[in-house]
Symmetry: C2
Subunit: 319 residues, 2 copies
Amino acid sequence: MATTMDIQDRIAKLNWERQPQGLYEPIAYTMASGGKRVRPQLAILACEMFGGNTEEVAPAAIALEIFHNFTLLHDDVMDKADVRRGRPTVHVKWNDNTAILSGDQMLIEAYKQLSSVPASKLPKALQLFNQMATEICEGQQYDVDFEAQDHVEIADYLMMIRLKTAVLLATALKMGAYIANADEKAQEALYQFGINIGLAFQIQDDILDVWGDPATFGKAVGGDISCNKKTFVYLTALQKANGECAQELHMWYSQVNEDNTAKIAAVKGIFEQLDVRSACEKQVDEYTTHAMELLATLPQNAATEQLRQLAMKLHNRKL
Amino acid sequence: MATTMDIQDRIAKLNWERQPQGLYEPIAYTMASGGKRVRPQLAILACEMFGGNTEEVAPAAIALEIFHNFTLLHDDVMDKADVRRGRPTVHVKWNDNTAILSGDQMLIEAYKQLSSVPASKLPKALQLFNQMATEICEGQQYDVDFEAQDHVEIADYLMMIRLKTAVLLATALKMGAYIANADEKAQEALYQFGINIGLAFQIQDDILDVWGDPATFGKAVGGDISCNKKTFVYLTALQKANGECAQELHMWYSQVNEDNTAKIAAVKGIFEQLDVRSACEKQVDEYTTHAMELLATLPQNAATEQLRQLAMKLHNRKL
């Protein structure tokens, strides 16, 4: 049986020493950059929770992790992001074309892993995976669209982060439950648990971008403000702001500066004046609470407890 | 039963009117740009040849065509190609990011189509597809690598075009034969038939780039010479050239010019002086002959005859 430890080990030991090196080296580099391997762990725990054979879900768990890293690779090209997990991104270390082609190959590698799911469960597993992959691309497109839009509704933003972030966590969980032969209602509850922790996670990320500790956040604090990203924090502020204050926010968010120190301080000041932080934290709490309620309807065992802890750890990331 | 006509019709009728438009419109644009739909036709004909149910192979046939168009889309970004089939490429009409993301979604759409292959045949169909997709990415990487290399062996070039071009045709054929329950030996013969017509096709393309009729070739004649592409024609010339002549070729191939009229004329002159064209045409003939020999070992019926004609049509493209 594959434990959550085993799966991390297997991901670390995937063999990328293949020819042509130019294709596989950037994949090895991307996969070696770590991360918490949350998605494969979720798939394994969901399978354990229903007493399933975790060996059967292992290929899908690995596929989900490769897929996740593929999205980061291509997103970094599209966002022109230079650093990921403290290291230069692939398109910086190599070039754009390498990032595109090695990314494509990673997507194919994900499907190669997935193809080792037991044959009887492959059609449904493939369908779940395809649905998720499609929704993530759609989420990424909405994210791009919203950048160019003057006005974004909070509901639209939530739809976008559900697609772009939450669906992958939710699918990892549902995949595990499906492979373990859980009934459809349980699969769906676990899927919704994933959606709720995913939404909480992303909004927490939006909060951390403003109020996070630079030492532990891993990204530059204020990055979203610098690039005028319409995050949950920003959209909540706009909703709370009166005419003058809203205009001030709009003014700052129409600027593209070399040095954003003043802008970050000013926008952060407006957010604090409007008491946006507590409103956002309340939203994170609500999603987390709802997630826990969903989990409480499912079998209670060691795996459930680990899922609960994992969700709390995502929630309690250092501010 | 799905005929080769039906499959073209189904590809034309795929519904891309989905949200977000920014993701799906470039896919509709790419898929509407036509082409001869050779790959799905090969899959259908191979299935017919062995008396298979062509409805079973139809999803894979459509998947192969979407995959093929995905590779063109991403290749055009990487090659900075502005025109494809007489129309602006996606990254020109939209932008690079759109081409990357809509391309990713096309790759996923190919797998979505593939997932409708009968469940009992899905594992093997997925494995064939994954193998092919991997080899095509590898071929593209070798193509990139060879650009930067001083010296390329003809054998390496043949390996590269086998991966980049021939494997897709061969897999389409093998897929059809597999779905029709043909025995492994027949599947393999048909696969090799595809490899041989693929190699012949690509070398013919290299010939057409030099001696093609601009009115019918579809691309600018001399394009490979302009960008110093080490094609079969060029590598054959190098092999035949004595010291002085080889140096002259190297000299031209180290230039990057705005206007390539003189370069194209000079290099073409060297090719003709070395009688390269007949050597290349001989190679095309050999691959085509071998393909026909392989086809002769297989069941002879209307589908076989159509495959023979299709192969001859690819071979006899206007010079």
